[in-house]
């Protein structure tokens, strides 16, 4: 496994310039998590409208490049999507890291699939998988937790 597959251009870009950082206005769901082993923290904020669409989605957090990029990519991919789709893509993402499966959802653009799949390099670094999955697990908690 090459290091450059872990630290791809897309990941470094998201880590250095995270998208949707901060508290989104009018959020009605949120959840936070922290990894006591390494100190990584993430807090997901989202606005779920009455049609079950995630009309806004953001995060606050600190951590390594993998955890920041993962949270940033998550918000970028799922903002504006509905609940069912978001849950499905989250499952697919977690499966990708656990079972090395590929992400092939029709309703994602090729660009989005490339972006999410850039995190698949983490598969080969078992100690870093949690860095990549924490934001996604936290999203699932947030979807269940009203403010």
């Amino acid at each position: 496994m090459e290091l450059k597959e872990l630290y791809q251009e897309i990941i470094l870009d998201h880590a250095k310039n995270p998208r949707n950082k901060g508290k989104c206005e009018g959020y009605n769901h949120d959840a936070k998590a922290h990894n006591p082993l390494c100190g990584d923290k993430v807090h997901i904020y989202l606005k779920l409208d009455k049609d079950k669409n995630i009309s806004d989605l953001s995060f606050e957090g600190e951590g390594c490049a993998i955890s920041l990029a993962s949270a940033s990519i998550l918000t970028d991919t799922l903002k504006g999507r509905d609940l069912q789709f978001s849950t499905k893509i989250t499952d697919d993402f977690l499966n990708m890291l656990k079972n090395k499966s590929k992400i092939t959802l029709n309703s994602l653009s090729e660009n989005q699939i490339t972006t999410i799949s850039s995190l698949s390099g983490v598969q080969e670094f078992p100690m870093r998988i949690k860095c990549a999955t924490m934001a996604w697990h936290t999203l699932l908690s947030a979807l269940k937790k009203k403010v």
Partner: protein, 405 residues
């Protein structure tokens, strides 16, 4: 004995990591084991193993003798006065828990103060926190200064007539600061306050003379002293082992057990309930032998030279921020690199075979004070060399390349 060929004494260095030689800079976390220690464990299991202190058969006698011999070797290595002052535990953590529990149960009352420091590893804070919860004790912190060290005056400021224990680390596992032990124990003695030293980082790197240090308790982690895992030692002064209640209940720690009452064995058995680590204790004798062959003063000098070389080399790199600048420092360089999280540093270094630790190193209070969530830490052991530091330094440059900074 020379340090030139020392890696050949440790089988772990035979292997390659990602195709490169292993550069092990994580000894503050756990040290590697010399072949003599590993072999002694196998030999013991193959030819001498039995439970100790219970049966009368030939193997039991052999095993018990070897086990107790290690106690004598430790007693003389740390210059304890009596063999019953040496108690085996499962680690330095358990050694501190033992004191917090037993001393706490008997001597700590509501409103009593326990003085720790901001440099403490969680294992020398969390056990005292239990006393805060259970007994209403108050925990005070001696504050760390800008150099990542703690001055004796800070201890003077924090001690009151309610202070019932001073518990502090010998050497910080983050800044490498060596605390002014004798000044602290002198001060404590003048006020009749017992002192516990967390010697987890101190014992592998310094001359150990508990009588000279003047402490009441000293906790040792054997796996950081080139010894087996799952083993620690508590030195506890005779006056304490005689009066403290037992820690855990079970076999081996009793005198007489009746339906209506139980009396306890004397130390060290009183504090060693249940079947102890046996091969580990026996093999630890060879860890001490290994250290003595080189001489702890020579080890100290050898490690200081590498430390100074490392500090000088990393200071030249403007993007590297070294944590703390203590006047007396041992074996540890914790650092951050602007724009790269310590976990990413550790992963990139690993690609070059360089093993370091990243995280808060079980010192969240210190990291909060420093205003950083984590740091990277290179820690030096007896087997390291200046060449290892050169590889570390090159690998740090690679981190910046990967991150394009």
């Amino acid at each position: 004995m020379k340090f030139d060929n020392i890696k050949s004494k440790f089988p772990i260095f035979k292997q390659k990591i990602k195709g490169k030689p292993l550069i092990y800079l994580d000894s503050a976390n756990s040290s590697q084991k010399p072949k003599t220690v590993i072999d002694e464990m196998s030999k013991f299991y193959e030819t001498e193993f039995s439970n100790v202190g219970r049966s009368v058969h030939t193997l039991a006698v052999k095993a018990t003798n070897k086990f107790e011999q290690t106690r004598d070797i430790v007693k003389s290595y740390v210059n304890a006065k009596y063999r019953e002052e040496i108690i085996f535990t499962k680690g330095a953590t358990e050694a501190i828990n033992l004191v917090a529990n037993t001393y706490g149960e008997k001597f700590i009352k509501e409103g009593d103060e326990i003085l720790v420091t901001e440099l403490e590893h969680h294992s020398n804070y969390v056990p005292w926190h239990y006393l805060r919860k259970k007994k209403g004790a108050i925990i005070k912190f001696a504050l760390v200064n800008g150099n990542g060290e703690i001055d004796i005056d800070e201890f003077k400021n924090q001690i009151t007539d309610k202070t019932k224990m001073i518990a502090f680390t010998h050497i910080s596992n983050v800044t490498g600061a060596i605390l002014p032990i004798k000044k602290i124990t002198d001060l404590a003695k003048s006020k009749n306050i017992p002192v516990l030293i967390d010697g987890t980082q101190g014992a592998p790197h310094s001359v150990l003379d508990v009588q000279d240090l003047g402490c009441d308790f000293y906790a040792i982690s054997c796996h950081k002293m080139y010894g087996p895992n799952g083993l620690g030692i508590l030195y506890a002064k005779k006056k304490w082992v005689d009066v403290l209640p037992p820690y855990q209940g079970g076999g081996g720690m009793i005198n007489e057990v009746k339906k209506d009452d139980i009396t306890y064995a004397d130390s060290p058995n009183k504090f060693e309930a249940g079947t102890m680590q046996t091969a580990e204790v026996v093999a630890f004798a060879n860890s001490i032998k290994f250290i003595k062959e080189f001489g702890i003063k020579n080890i100290e000098k050898h490690e200081s030279q590498i430390l100074e070389y490392g500090l000088e080399k990393l200071r030249k790199d403007n993007s590297v921020n070294i944590i703390g600048n203590p006047k007396n420092r041992a074996s540890i360089i914790s650092f951050t690199i602007k724009g790269i999280h310590p976990h990413d540093i550790a992963t990139i270094l690993d690609d070059d075979g360089v093993a370091i630790r990243a995280g808060h190193h079980c010192c969240q209070i210190l990291h909060d004070k420093l205003g950083i969530p984590a740091s990277a830490r290179a820690s030096i052991g007896v087997y390291n060399s200046k060449e290892d530091i050169d590889v570390l330094s090159e690998s740090i440059k690679k981190c910046k390349k990967v991150f394009q900074i």
